[in-house]
């Protein structure tokens, strides 16, 4: 099983490697990691740390997309969760209450999306668009349009603290990713989610309670977004309802796509999506370290992303496969294809 997973994520690993190498080329000190002030300090740590919000979003987004849905509201949910957490601690509550309140807000948002999609049968892109637009307004109402700052050490720890030298956000997204992957892959849930994405009617006829599962994936997405929102707010010690999570839903979708998951639903890999999130953050890192004028930021990002997506496109993949196959016996994978096909032919004949 590990072998299969490894084969699945090989393209993402290669791309990540190339982008990290690009980082090394523009800034030779990229891979150096030091231990100072009780925390690991280095660009690689930054990539893992700064990639946390998109990584968290991509976990929930992968499941939603696997059901052939999409969740555009995650950025707004981040803003709401940050605002809720900030208002709890500024109102005198503890960090744990704030975290629970923020996660509850995320669940509520997920419930809203899930009910619209699973029970009222609104198309996911429309259903979640409602919250994407309205959610930021809700967050602004909570913060009264200001940046709501707080000094609660416990809450700040979630965004800017360290555990064993590693920034807390890294631990959080790794834990969340492991937990969700474990739950969906060690049970039949993952397969059932894939079944809904491939053909919902058929899966329902086969006895899958598709409504509850659909609701569940939007709930998970809401919780992931709320966690990301708390991290982002804790990081700057303030809830910025105008900017927290702004356009981040697009980065999350991009992470899922770079992870090689189809927007048409079906088979998914959370690990690949997480790698996608790291690839996006590494691209951002190249831009920041290159010292190019900011006018080029989006152009560079677009170019790198286009190259990544073109390499992953089915046509190019097929062409690469043909190229390797025609190169003859020198390439071991061409061998692998041959024997695997031949027994089938034998049984047929």
């Amino acid at each position: 099983m590990i072998g299969a997973t490894f084969r699945r994520i090989t393209p993402q690993l290669i791309i990540l490697g190339i982008v990290l190498l690009l980082n090394f080329l523009v800034f030779p000190g990229f891979f150096s990691i030091e231990f100072q002030n009780g925390r690991l300090f280095g660009n690689l740590i930054d990539v893992l740390n700064r990639g946390a919000p998109v990584a968290l979003l991509s976990i929930g987004m992968t499941l939603v997309i696997a059901t052939k849905g999409i969740d555009l509201s995650v950025g707004a949910v981040m803003a709401i969760a940050g605002a809720v957490a900030a208002s709890v601690v500024t109102g005198g509550g503890g960090w744990f209450t704030a975290l629970i309140a923020a996660l509850a807000a995320g669940l509520l948002c997920g419930l809203w999306n899930g009910v619209l999609v699973a029970f009222l049968r609104v198309q996911p892109i429309v259903a979640t668009l409602v919250l994407m637009v309205a959610g930021r307004g809700v967050a602004q109402l909570i913060t009264e349009g200001k940046i709501m700052t707080f000094l609660n050490e416990g809450l700040i720890f979630l965004g800017a603290g360290t555990i064993l030298g590693l920034p807390t956000p890294i631990i959080i997204w790794l834990a969340m990713g492991t937990l969700v992957t474990f739950v969906v892959r060690r049970t039949a849930l993952g397969m059932l989610i894939e079944a809904i994405g491939i053909n919902e009617t058929a899966s329902r006829l086969a006895g899958i309670n598709s409504r509850v599962l659909l609701l569940a994936v939007y709930l998970i997405s809401g919780v992931c977004a709320a966690t990301a929102g708390v991290i982002v707010a804790a990081d700057i010690k303030g809830a910025d309802a105008n900017n927290a999570g702004l356009w981040m839903e697009l980065d999350a979708i991009l992470a899922v796509v770079i992870g090689g998951n189809s927007l048409l639903g079906g088979r998914f890999s959370i690990v690949a999506s997480l790698l996608g999130a790291l690839i996006i953050q590494s691209v951002n890192s190249v831009i920041l370290l290159s010292g190019m004028p900011p006018e080029f930021n989006l152009v560079i990002k677009a170019l790198i992303i286009i190259v990544i997506l073109v390499i992953q496109s089915p046509t190019v993949k097929h062409a690469l496969y043909l190229l390797r196959a025609s190169a003859g016996s020198a390439v071991p994978e061409a061998h692998a294809v041959g024997p695997r096909n031949s027994p089938a032919k034998e049984t047929r004949s």
Partner: protein, 317 residues
């Protein structure tokens, strides 16, 4: 308290002018509440009107030009004595401004200008964003003297006019100081979160010990960057000088705590000068120049930043 007394005294001194402004009705079309600064501008405008005994009719356009045009038309229909307009966009104002002119209602633009013939409005009260950058740059030139200084710059949203102007102004101010060079410049999108992220990369790429000062196009980015500097083990305000623009309450707090050094105020009091202009116009028909520049005041550690923070906190920033 002191401020209130000062305002009272100045109000008494202005008593004759106030006599002409009293019982006047002024319509104010505000863009909306897109930022803390704008919320503060609305609060200050209402305060200014109340102090002068002006009846202010307030219309929030929720970031839509059509709402502003509607508000202006309703002000004209109500026959207000003057209109204050904070335009959301620069174009498309000609016809409604002509209607105001036909009704002989003076229009004063606040904070932003419009692309219309300048005889359609009385004047524009705005800040000079290039000058703001210059004030920040001059402060740095004076602060470092002849020492070598490598500056990192956090730009505003790429292509936005305050970002372009504040960059140009700062560069102009340091042009004659060969010891000051901008070594890294990147956008932080005017936000705290991005300011922090970009500063982190500056600190890694240059090394904290090789950066002498940070210039941020707004205070929010500076506040984010200050956190990044602290996490990198350096002392903001000492190892790395921090200068920014806007003078929002949190920046005053940072200066009071010694974590930042200077900020240039983008005053939310655009209405004060506008009402002064209207007073003069109503008293003896004095016409103002077509552009009135608001003061870009520099705040440093010499000011009582804790008190200013407490005072500004209530304005809605």
């Amino acid at each position: 308290m002191k401020l209130k007394t000062a305002l009272l005294i100045s109000a008494m001194a202005l008593a004759p002018a106030i006599a002409s402004a009293a019982d006047k009705t002024v319509g104010f079309s505000q863009i909306g509440s897109e930022s803390g600064w704008r919320a503060a501008e609305t609060t200050v405008t209402k305060q200014q009107a109340e102090e002068r005994g002006i009846d202010l009719k307030f219309a929030d356009a929720q970031q839509k030009q059509e709402n502003q045009i509607k508000a202006l038309r309703s002000f004209i229909a109500q026959g207000v004595d003057a209109i204050l307009l904070a335009p959301v966009v620069a174009t498309g104002w000609d016809s409604v401004l002509e209607e105001a002119q036909d009704a002989e209602i003076p229009v004063i633009l606040l904070d932003r200008k419009v692309d219309a013939s300048d005889d359609l409005y009385m004047t524009a009260v705005t800040s000079d964003t290039v000058y703001e950058g210059e004030v920040a740059g001059k402060w740095l030139v004076d602060a470092v003297g002849s020492e070598e200084c490598r500056v990192v710059e956090l730009q505003g949203t790429t292509g936005s006019s305050p970002a372009i102007d504040r960059k140009a102004g700062f560069e102009k101010a340091i042009a004659d100081a060969p010891n000051i060079t901008i070594v890294r410049s990147q956008t932080g999108d005017f936000t705290r979160a991005q300011g922090k992220v970009v500063m982190e990369s500056f600190l890694k790429a240059e090394g904290a010990e090789n950066i002498c000062a940070l210039y941020a196009h707004n205070d929010d980015m500076a506040v984010g960057a200050i956190q990044a500097i602290k996490e990198a083990g350096a002392t903001p305000g000492d190892d790395i000088l921090v200068v920014a623009i806007d003078a929002v309450p949190d920046m005053h707090l940072a200066i009071a705590n010694g974590e930042a050094n200077a900020t240039v105020e983008l005053t939310p009091n655009m209405a004060g000068p506008a009402f002064d202009i209207l007073d003069a116009y109503w008293a003896d028909g004095t016409m103002p120049p077509k552009w009135v520049q608001t003061e870009s005041r520099l705040y440093t550690a010499d000011d009582d930043n804790q008190a200013i923070y407490e005072m500004k906190k209530g304005l809605g920033y």
